[in-house]
Symmetry: C2
Subunit: 551 residues, 2 copies
């Protein structure tokens, strides 16, 4: 049996585009002589469709797309992911199942429902779906297929469950092969995890495994593709490309081996975290604009490293001609900052404008003079600058149809080192899941062949330049230390006591954690953040605002 | 047996305050001769503690509080709600249970875990908790108590489930009484629903029912109290106060009747939606400030009805002396708007300032002249005004320690009729779950005894005053029609086709729904919204941003 794996980039709610993409992949696979084409989890409708799933119309449109696809499957089979009504709903439970259709002879022959529903981090599947408790293999062309959906195969041998694992039932039916369709989001460590866990399961059940992931970004969540094929010993046979669409073909032989029809690719060495983050962010930017129907980005360019990296990424993702960099110096901006920003613009060839904000902040200070008279310069005046810049950038968005890119990094976002409605504005946050120390690595990676980001932006001490001679290190610990403490608190969820026990200075740890906690109200109102780590701010980390925080 | 119901206002993560409040209620109940005091669901730690629950330290602190409470229960029993470790975790599943401790003789005697976990709208309980599947009654002083937690008793007889209902098991053990501890949030229709569903269950199982809810707001979620006591026929015996703390006492007699120890209160007539919304918003504002450690609110006062209502609510919730109203006229503000705003300030006795924004918007337009030259006035210039106001208000927050109140209503928020980083700013949104037509009702309710909100603010046609002679009705359908369409789409989740079939104009319906959908990116960045309806924007309605929306 010849199996095609279709790793495609879907668009939530765009039934026409998704269906056409699937139909076109079916055509290619038919021409290549495939018996069955495997698409990803919830490819009809897109993932995560979130509360769209609560609209009956959305579910009806999914079914219509599926019928359109079925009509095209007269001489080929396919597996598609789709939300379907829970037929036992009259006895309570959730309205839907997260399902796979096995389609051939022009109609849906079998429906498989997901049993293990992720409901952690960015996942909310129990919000919509009822878990399945009964399982059956799919028979097709003399082969018996154990078909499961994503999380159904996402656990290690060492982690037994007290709910039933679908494969533990299906294996009794003596299948020949496992197929798993997934929507498994990118994080810089996720590719290795996938290979380990899925390989483990192939070996555990002694069956070859074909695994198809989505690719493409849906707002903050980036799917990296990297679909996988394992033999029955758990060895990786083929690894599909990362961060791009692809269709590949395999022959399932009678001896339960799997032969790729194209030269197999198994990476000798994993890509570094930074290479992966770089590719993920490019895809995230590109899809955010493309799927929103926008082309042109704008950002404020300070001469510092964060906005420089965002500008370089945007130019690579969207084309330099679609990026407008605005220099917005204030009286506290240093001359070299402007020069560094101008150098970057020249290196990239993007558009740029310079708008002085002094007359604007002066106007605010004059208007507020009756209220502020006699009071010392403080954060109010600092923030006036950041907010004046945001208003200028947003005015340009409104006038010319740009989307503003947010340039805050994860370290700043964590400790609230940013101005709400100022530099925290934007349609999408590019670096909000990238710690400052990683931003440096990213800058050096961007410069790997030639200097794009001016060396001076990389080596100078970071500064918000909102008061004379300001440096980030006036208010924050050095980023090396800050980022390791943040990693322990945010990613590993250790308490201050546990972090201090690892050898960090008590006063620093308590201060950092307090800063993180008191910034919750700011992070609540920031743009969606392209997720590249296993724990990003946003929908994957949900904290109360008025809580009294531990520190 | 004498049972005390303690309906208290907890603060998420504030272990000291919550524990002291519980200890003090235990003292009162002991003095009143109670045998057992019933506190609400997850009273230790607060609800919803959200991802705090993923920190081991948080769970440890909950247990420490429980032990402190247990030590005080030598001569009295109590029931408290607490997150506890899932002991079967070595076989997979979630880390925690949502539990109740039954405490007496100075220690935890029995642990009851919640079985039915809400995971819809604002609820995320499957994110943290493993559902319980085994159930046992609690025996105490010769009575057998069927103790359950909130959702465990939240279904009607007409709605059978295919998971096990805890009471269906517990009833076999022949209990004498049901006790249910809850954290059931306010919505203007929820009190009636609670009485109906819980009364149904008392009758179904033929047992008296004592039900204790939380009271108080946690950021956007308001708990309204209104704890309930039913007899075994399902008749309401007593209804505790709404929107305030209280402790009440009941004798459980041997004939399974329940006698209140204070004059029983059962409302003859339900409060109107608007009365309830009014009380809910006052509590929401008060607790947001109190639990954040702030006292003083600021808002922009336009002379229109929305900011007038917010100002009046804030003055009632926080004291007029703690409310700063800022008049921020532009060249498009009409003279009567300023007069209406000044009249309101006088009526309320709150503080006020006037800051002209013309010089500020002029400065922006001058600075942007090279970019904007020759282009017509459009939304860019309109938004400059709204954003200049926000920057002034935020500068005053930063200088004086105010929290900015957002004044957008639900109709505006729904259709995106507001300026991101302009009038959509604020620490908390007061009216974001109140449709414009309800804002009028609220204004009239606030004026029920005396004119507080100037009649002119109520009767004049609504306008954003961002260009000459602008009226909301230039861009939007009349609010009566808009709000009914929005209600069908947002609350009832009907499709455009279904709404048109109800008799609404097709073009209007499609336009409104399109506006709602294309405003998702704006709503993503708005402040938390005090939730008063069954479907509020925010954590209870989760939509994708880059999705292609139905319309």
């Amino acid at each position: 049996m010849k199996i095609a794996l279709a790793q495609l980039n879907y668009h939530i709610g765009n039934f026409e585009a998704n269906t056409n993409k699937i139909l076109s992949a079916l055509d290619s696979a038919r021409n290549a002589g495939a018996d069955v084409v495997v698409f990803a989890e919830l490819c009809i409708g897109g993932y995560p469709a979130r509360d769209f799933l609560e609209f009956k119309e959305f579910i009806d449109l999914c079914e219509q797309s599926a019928q359109q696809i079925a009509a095209a499957c007269t001489d080929i089979a396919c597996i598609i992911g789709i939300p379907t009504p829970n037929k036992r709903k009259n006895k309570g439970g959730k309205d839907l199942h997260n399902s796979a259709y096995f389609i051939y002879d022009g109609k849906v022959q079998q429906i498989v429902n997901k049993a293990l529903l992720p409901n952690y981090d960015v996942f909310d599947e129990y919000r919509y779906f009822e878990p399945e408790t009964e399982f059956a293999c799919v028979d097709y062309k003399g082969k018996r297929i154990a078909l499961t959906i994503c999380e159904d195969l996402w656990n290690t041998i060492e982690n037994p469950l007290y709910v039933t694992r679908p494969m533990d039932v299906l294996i009794e039916q003596k299948p020949d092969v496992m197929i798993n369709i997934a929507a498994s989001p990118f994080a810089y460590n996720h590719d290795e995890e996938r290979i380990a866990i899925l390989g483990d399961n192939a070996k555990r059940y002694g069956l070859p495994l074909l695994y198809v992931n989505q690719v493409g970004a849906q707002t903050e969540i980036i799917f990296d593709g990297g679909s996988l094929v394992f033999d029955k010993n758990g060895s990786l046979v083929d690894e599909m490309p990362y961060f791009e669409e692809a269709i590949t073909y395999y022959t399932l032989n009678d001896d339960a081996t799997v032969t790729p029809q194209q030269p197999a690719t198994v990476m000798d060495e994993r890509q570094s975290d930074i290479e992966q983050i770089h590719q993920g962010l490019l895809l995230g930017i590109r899809d955010y604009f493309y799927k929103s129907g926008f082309k042109q980005a704008i950002l404020g360019l300070s001469g510092g490293i964060d906005s420089a990296v965002v500008c370089a990424l945007a130019a690579e993702a969207l084309g330099a001609e679609n990026v407008m960099a605005v220099l917005l110096p204030s009286k506290y901006s240093t001359g070299h900052s402007i020069q560094d920003a101008e150098d970057l613009v020249k290196n990239l060839g993007c558009k740029s404008e310079l708008v002085e904000i002094k007359s604007i902040t002066d106007a605010f200070e004059t208007a507020l003079h009756p209220q502020f008279e006699g009071l010392p310069f403080n954060i109010a005046e600092e923030n006036l600058q950041a907010r004046s810049r945001a208003v200028v950038l947003m005015a340009m968005c409104n006038k010319f149809g740009y989307i503003l890119l947010n340039t805050s990094n994860k370290s700043e976002s964590a400790v609230g080192y940013g101005t709400l409605y100022g530099d925290m504005c934007g349609g999408i946050s590019v670096l909000g899941d990238v710690y400052k120390t990683q931003v440096y690595q990213l800058a050096n990676y961007i410069n790997r062949n030639t200097e794009i980001i001016p060396q001076n932006s990389i080596v100078k001490p970071p500064s918000a330049e909102l008061r004379p001679d300001q440096k980030d290190s006036d208010s924050l610990p050095e980023y090396d230390m800050l980022d390791t403490i943040l990693m322990q608190y945010v990613e590993n969820r250790l308490s201050s006591g546990e972090i201090i026990a690892l050898g960090y200075d008590e006063a620093v740890v308590r201060r950092v954690i307090k800063l993180v906690n008191t910034a919750e109200h700011k992070r609540y109102q920031t743009p969606p953040i392209l997720r590249v780590s296993p724990k990003a701010f946003g929908m994957g980390r949900r904290m109360p605002i008025v809580g009294k925080y531990l520190s």
